[in-house]
Symmetry: C2
Subunit: 278 residues, 2 copies
């Protein structure tokens, strides 16, 4: 099987996408924007041995590679439009891995309305992929990290500290529901402590956290500093009602931008940082 065969197979499996006037198979894909839409762009890498173990089923690797980028679209309140998938695979794992990978990825793509518009295939020493997703939001309505104000409620979806290796479920519905309600939003990819610090820095505010909804069996340290939860952390104006499935964990306060207090003590901005100490 050569690159042309794989590309032809993907063309058949990918199907058409709304707004995609030219899909897989030319030098570029073409997207025709709609009136009054703003486009959101994000890219996330997934590497064997770093983001997943080589024993993870290929379909889960594909699912999660797309889910990581969709989680960023969710954090901005966007609707996914299409993705570009770059994949490098060792020769020995060729066709079988590629089939499983795209089965998992395209399953999630279909359920979330994300068209596969293109990408790149290559041989590599290890499995490596990078997924770019384009999402859409009405002009000026995308959620940002920078809108939190002192007095806002601090909330999180789901439970934190989940074990790695499961299928990531991007919170796309919640993200869209927060559009026009939340004052700021970020997805938890590197742990609550570090991502809340980032939100505080972007908004120029501090935060107080009283409690954290923990996943079954998760230690407090893991719930605060573990990565890969892919839940949404967001702020609401005081006296707002909380969306279903979310928990009030604290408040936004005045203070040094990015500073976080947890149950009365400073919480260090430690989490899953690929470049810490590097």
């Amino acid at each position: 099987m050569n690159e042309l065969d794989i590309v032809e197979k993907l063309q058949r499996r990918a199907g058409p996408g709304k707004g995609i006037t030219l899909g897989i198979g030319d030098d570029c894909a073409i997207y025709r924007p709609r009136a009054n839409e703003e486009l959101l762009f994000t890219a996330d890498q997934s590497m064997e041995g770093i983001h997943f173990l080589p024993t993870l089923p290929p379909a889960t690797i594909g699912h999660n590679a797309l889910a990581r980028s969709l989680s960023d679209i969710a954090a901005m309140g966007g609707e996914p439009r299409f993705c570009l998938v770059s994949l490098a695979v060792p020769g020995g794992r060729g066709t079988k891995f590629i089939d499983g990978f795209y089965r998992g990825l395209l399953g999630l793509a279909r359920r979330t309305g994300t068209a596969l518009a293109g990408g790149d295939l290559a041989h590599g020493d290890k499995i490596y992929c990078d997924v770019m997703v384009c999402g859409s939001a009405p002009r000026g309505k995308a959620l940002r990290r920078s809108g939190a104000r002192p007095g806002d409620l601090l909330c999180v979806s789901g439970r934190l500290g989940k074990p790695w290796g499961g299928r990531i479920q991007p919170r796309l519905e919640l993200g869209r529901a927060l559009r026009g309600r939340a004052t700021s939003c970020i997805d938890l990819s590197d742990g609550l402590a570090l991502d809340l610090h980032r939100l505080g820095v972007a908004s120029g505010v501090a935060a107080m956290v009283d409690r954290v909804p923990r996943a079954r069996g998760a230690s407090l340290d893991r719930a605060l500093h573990g990565g890969e939860d892919y839940e949404l952390l967001f702020t609401l104006p005081s006296r707002s009602s909380l969306p279903a499935g979310t928990t009030l964990i604290g408040n936004i306060t005045e203070g040094r931008a990015g500073a976080v207090m947890f149950q009365g003590k400073p919480l260090p901005a430690r989490g899953y940082d690929h470049f810490a100490g590097g």
Copy 2:
């Protein structure tokens, strides 16, 4: 230096981009499309040991990583708008490599009007990067692989079989000049023989090649089957005049889609295919 420091430094160096209403530093970048524009998307991977040797200067690696994707935008007659850059770097090569890489990449980005809008940074075993570029063309005007017709002139820019390791110069000006003139276009990333085969398949036509403009010292085999030339291969209606710096190398003919005759003999569709034999 941690990821936050690197991202902050890139924010300062990247500068604003036309239409980018939110750049590096949030979950997604935001692009506001203009009226009547169609957006072109492409992604290309560059891996140590496969696309470049580890001894290549970091600035050249960064330049070429962007240039590969810009060449796809050129082949569609587009104008670059912005890029997302995903980069994995071994811990030991950290800051110095990253600085050089982005110096090379941002230099080419500035000269071509490409904003750096976001991406992803991670540690990896080897240097790996994936560059997504978004380009723009007036609605319905992008060049495709599929428009070649029997009788068309077959042309190529520059000279083929150049040695690897130099700085790739994407043919953006030529691509734009071909808009409304060329009937089809593709960039030569995997060699004339294979890429002409692809153009023929997409257009449902065959081709005859009489001659090939060779780079100094290049063998005929390298000029026909070597990759990484990043010149444009395009077709013009018969009796068209050729743009400066381009050479007439043959004609489009009726026949089996993708078949190529070179100086009277069949030319195999052999080139630089990452998945051949895999």
